[in-house]
Amino acid sequence: MSTLTATTRSTRAELMRLRAWPAVWITLGAWLLLSIMFGYLFTYLSYTSGDASFADEGTTQAEQLARMLPDAVPDVFLQGMPMFGGALMMVLGALVAGNGYGWGTWKTLFAQGVRRTPALLGSVTALTAVVLTTLVVTLGLDLGISLIITASENQDVVMPSFGSVTEAFGAGFLVLEMWALLGFLLGTLARGPALSVGLGLVWALVVENLLRGVGQLLGWVESLTEVLPGTSAGSLIGGIVGVGAGDGTPGVLDTVPVGRAAITVAVYLVLAVAGSVLLVRRRDVA
């Protein structure tokens, strides 16, 4: 049996179990809730009340409204991804890989003669499908909300260009997929979900921010931060939405050029898969 056939089988199997896993739906729900809250709810409340919210300080009502219309969907869609979007996907990746060890399901699988590499690639492919689904649902929801606001505010419908939607979707995929796969790598490395989730979150939410702060004082630390996953993801998004537009949005950066950031994110993505395959192939399964 070829590796492709075996991987396809494992992808079907993993999709079957991920679909039924409450953790996947909870993560997706949390992302959508946060995305709507920070993308539309606070802006809308600020817009309707006339008070500037923390995210919209210094902006006029017209600017606030413009941010909620369909034309701005690509920017709103991307803004939460470097911070909580990435963190949530990393948690999901760590759970998908780590629980296989915690519950002993990898052991059960490999003990029945299922080959390790196709099984792992199947799991990665299924996780990628979850990331893609998350992106599609988010984009659809953002568009739906913006159309409702457009109608309620009697504005003309100006849809975003296909190019800008495609660009946003591609960047969003790179960022969420990178974090999901880094979480998968951590779950594999730690052979369990708890430690990998904890370490991953501390790294993504705390350590990288601290290093960026230290980087302002030490040149070599600054050079190091430019190739870190969080900086690269933030710069990729910042390069598209613009840091001016995303000012105040945590994680959105202009530290490195967008092209370099995209390449760095893609490299992390590949390294995370390669690292996971290597670890699963070489290490004992307890």
Partner: protein
């Protein structure tokens, strides 16, 4: 198909953790169509050997081969707790390219069809164990490896599991069974391997291991009885039991000869019976462990 062909072999298989040798140069062979009992006290190295055989862990040295068509239950069942037993097996079936009909077949085989839609996390230990066995049976594997399959089962469940292994043996399947239940192994297995402190002490048929039928005599005075016994069975063929009886390595048909010789020597014969050591007795003798200390009954 060669019925005696090996379906699982190890050659000088060794696993070292730090400075502890968990498995020490184990060489064993499981042949097609046999039920092979793998015996040993807790921590003897049974599960480590089986895990190396299945490729779950890498040997430090030596080789292990198992037929690629293998189904196994190792160190307890591992399944997704949020899925039902049936869904768990379906996920496994997808991975292996098997059909849902196969899932139903094995669920029925372990008597879980009626509870197949219950969540795995709600299963009793016995049900989890049976689901693990069902997973091992999926796809009609050439080799079935069962590591302590009766763990957590109640007496009825144990009887069912034993019947299942007997059925598998009748169907000509190869089963590698690791178990503490020596009476079960004695009845079910064709051959056994006994492991202790990581070393394989013996690999043979159950009958060979038990040493065949011997004669047990009690006669007085004991010195005369012992002299007669040693004359008939040889110096190495006599063993004194704790109750003073003598165990002679002689076939049961020699009982009249022994009786005549004892009487001729002036001894009073109180008992002369055919005796057979149980696998349990042999096991404790080989592993030098007390039944109430390390090895559960």
């Amino acid at each position: 198909m060669n019925t005696n062909a090996p379906v699982a072999t190890t050659e000088n298989l060794t696993k070292v953790y730090g400075d502890r040798v968990a498995v020490d140069k184990v060489t064993m062979t499981v042949r097609r169509g046999e039920v092979y009992g793998f015996l040993g006290p807790n921590g003897a190295g049974k599960t480590t050997t089986l895990r190396m055989l299945l490729g779950l862990i890498r040997p430090t040295s030596g080789t292990a081969y198992a037929d690629p068509s293998v189904g196994a239950l190792i160190e307890g069942p591992g399944f997704h707790p949020y899925l039902s037993g049936r869904a768990n097996l379906r996920v496994l079936a997808r991975h292996r390219g098997l059909t849902d009909a196969e899932v139903e077949r094995v669920l029925g085989r372990v008597d879980l069809a009626g509870r197949g839609d219950d969540k795995f996390k709600g299963y009793s230990l016995g049900m989890k164990q049976r689901l693990g066995v069902a997973a091992a049976l999926m796809g009609d594997p050439e080799l079935i490896v069962l590591d302590e399959p009766t763990n957590g089962l109640d007496p009825a469940g144990m009887a069912d599991m034993r019947a299942l292994v007997v059925d598998l043996a009748r169907e000509g399947r190869t089963v590698l069974l690791s178990s503490h239940l020596l009476a079960e192994v004695q009845e079910i297995c064709h051959r056994v391997g006994v492991i202790n402190d990581g070393r394989l002490l013996r690999e043979s048929t159950v009958a060979e291991l038990r040493g065949g039928v011997s004669l047990r005599i009690r006669a007085t005075p004991e010195p005369e009885a012992l002299a007669v016994a040693m004359r008939l069975a040889g110096d190495d063929g006599v063993r004194r039991e704790s109750d003073g009886a003598l165990l002679l390595s002689l076939p049961a048909e020699r009982a009249p000869d022994v009786a005549r010789a004892l009487v001729a020597a002036g001894a009073d014969v109180h008992e002369i019976t055919a005796a057979e050591r149980s696998l349990e007795e042999v096991f404790f003798e080989m592993t030098s462990t007390h039944p109430h200390q390390e090895v559960p009954a």
